[in-house]
Symmetry: C2
Amino acid sequence: MKAKAKHVRRHVTIREVAKAAGASVSTISAALNNSDYVSADMRRRIEAAIKTLKYCPNDLARGLRLQKTHSIAIVVPDLSNNFYIELVRGVKDYSASASYTVLIGDSRESWEEERNYLDSFHRRRVDGVVRVPAMNAAGGKARAVLGNLPVVYADRHPREHDTHVGRVGVDNTQAAKSATSYLLSLGHRDIGIITGDASSGTSRDRLQGFMSAIRSAKIRLDRSTIHAGHNDMESGHFHAMQLLTRGQRPTAIFCTNNMMALGALAAVQEIGLACPEEISLLGFDDFYWATLLRPRLTVVRQPAREIGMIAARILIDHIEGRTSIPTPALLKTQLIVRDSCCPPKKT
Amino acid sequence: MKAKAKHVRRHVTIREVAKAAGASVSTISAALNNSDYVSADMRRRIEAAIKTLKYCPNDLARGLRLQKTHSIAIVVPDLSNNFYIELVRGVKDYSASASYTVLIGDSRESWEEERNYLDSFHRRRVDGVVRVPAMNAAGGKARAVLGNLPVVYADRHPREHDTHVGRVGVDNTQAAKSATSYLLSLGHRDIGIITGDASSGTSRDRLQGFMSAIRSAKIRLDRSTIHAGHNDMESGHFHAMQLLTRGQRPTAIFCTNNMMALGALAAVQEIGLACPEEISLLGFDDFYWATLLRPRLTVVRQPAREIGMIAARILIDHIEGRTSIPTPALLKTQLIVRDSCCPPKKT
DNA sequence: CGTATGTACCGAAACGTTTTGGTTTTGTGA
DNA sequence: TCACAAAACCAAAACGTTTCGGTACATACG
């Protein structure tokens, strides 16, 4: 009674398979990694044993011995942002085709969280990581926790010259510039922008593109219309409120990510302004339900899935010692014109 | 020239730390798992060595030796559905508080994909998994790939009596029944329903609740208004189109998940019907941007995060040999009344 | 002085694989 | 009949931890 039956029955190992098949451990291993000489007869016996014993290989032992896990990790700042889901799926799909598995981290824009994930991945000995750093993840810090794991940056890139094996994203400056030009071509002269934190190179580039377009149009740049948010709905809402309730309200607002565009839309609806008649709204990143909104949102679309696939490719190429496409890879964006922008009302 | 410098420098091990600190391997281990006798002086030397060598523990070796990885996995059918993101975050948050890490799988409603994930998790020797089975994952199949890993079902549960250590979800029958009663109370007598695949117990329960409410109201149930979709936007759109273009169009449509509700809304917009005046729409699962839609969607809200947390708790309790709350745990839903339902037009 | 009791440390075995360097068996040609 | 090569298999050593059983030393007590 005192001695509880050891009911937990551990996993079945290669050794038990060997016994059952009347073979040695090394032969089983050879059969599993179908290499070397294994006679057809032996192979049959082994497979039978595996089936009846329900053998499941232990990747811990395997990885330990091989010094390689055939897995990579991706950490993104916000899984509830559909853009990152698509990116993750791109990473996952490419990796699967190269028979790598991928571990997913969701830092929720917090460096603390991100560090936990990166550390956990490092301890798990993933072969590399593609990283979309959290907003407040000032540079360099990641190296300390990642050792010399290969890193590929996707979407965002760090301000500092961080060591990495590649980065993928879009030409943010160009994208923001042409998006702004579109607003200008509609006749807008007073455009507000809600951008991400300046510590992010991506946000800076987009702001850069915005300002560059404004300057090209010979318009005086009013710096008070530049608001830095945190890439979430709340800050989009907050800063849109600021912009919309100031003395001279802009006729258009450009949000440099989709969450902030949603927040801005909420603010517009709340105030009761007609969009686009009274205020034009231009967002970044497309998402599958953007056409359900009224007005349907005009956005700059990024090829999220492709960014993920290329990031995975660069990373895995590096891991396997192949040389890959040159870095950085800058993909093209596309302006998706829908209903949320129109010429400003004449005053 | 021929012999490439072994530039790959492997990871630093506990052994090198031992050498650097002038201690033995076992002492380092003792210090790391801060237990046993380690003098203050020794501990200081060890910590110094760890810092300078940038030692990072190897969880593969650790898990192998311990026969325990302190990690669990969760597989959900669709990461682009915000409901599952919240659920995952619930799992993750509870697990973190119990110092477990969590691996995420996204099966995209495909049993093939799900099997791959489950297999991969099993080989990685996670200590357990919480599972939201894919639509076409007919019962039992998972056991074969999972061995005797503890499983907790969340949200959906399998039709067959599958072995598991618990399940968590809402009272779907009750939720659907009261949602339907709400529509009835508004005066609707001709209600269409777009439900999930009948192989899912959850879908069946919701349909059950719907029918039960209809019967209680002594209304003849027209089975042709019951449509089974696949829990995605496309099928929501497709079936709503069917319902809306038939001879006698229903005055309300009840969608038993959020994706299908979005698809239905798209169909309504496409046809150009006024919602809710000409057609009321009732969805399942709330999401953070539901209020941005026009009309703002009326939905049955499920406590997604809480479902995740409880699932993780049941699982981890089981893993650690504690007895947990009785299974199944049925949480309460809440009808969030917004603008997408109103009394039907008098004919 | 002899024995007991702690404290601080260490060596070696185990966890489940893969790989290296064998050994045995079988077949083949001279 | 013998040598030799190829085919089929095997034993043992790693991989980086944790843990079990010890050892060495100091201190305390009778």
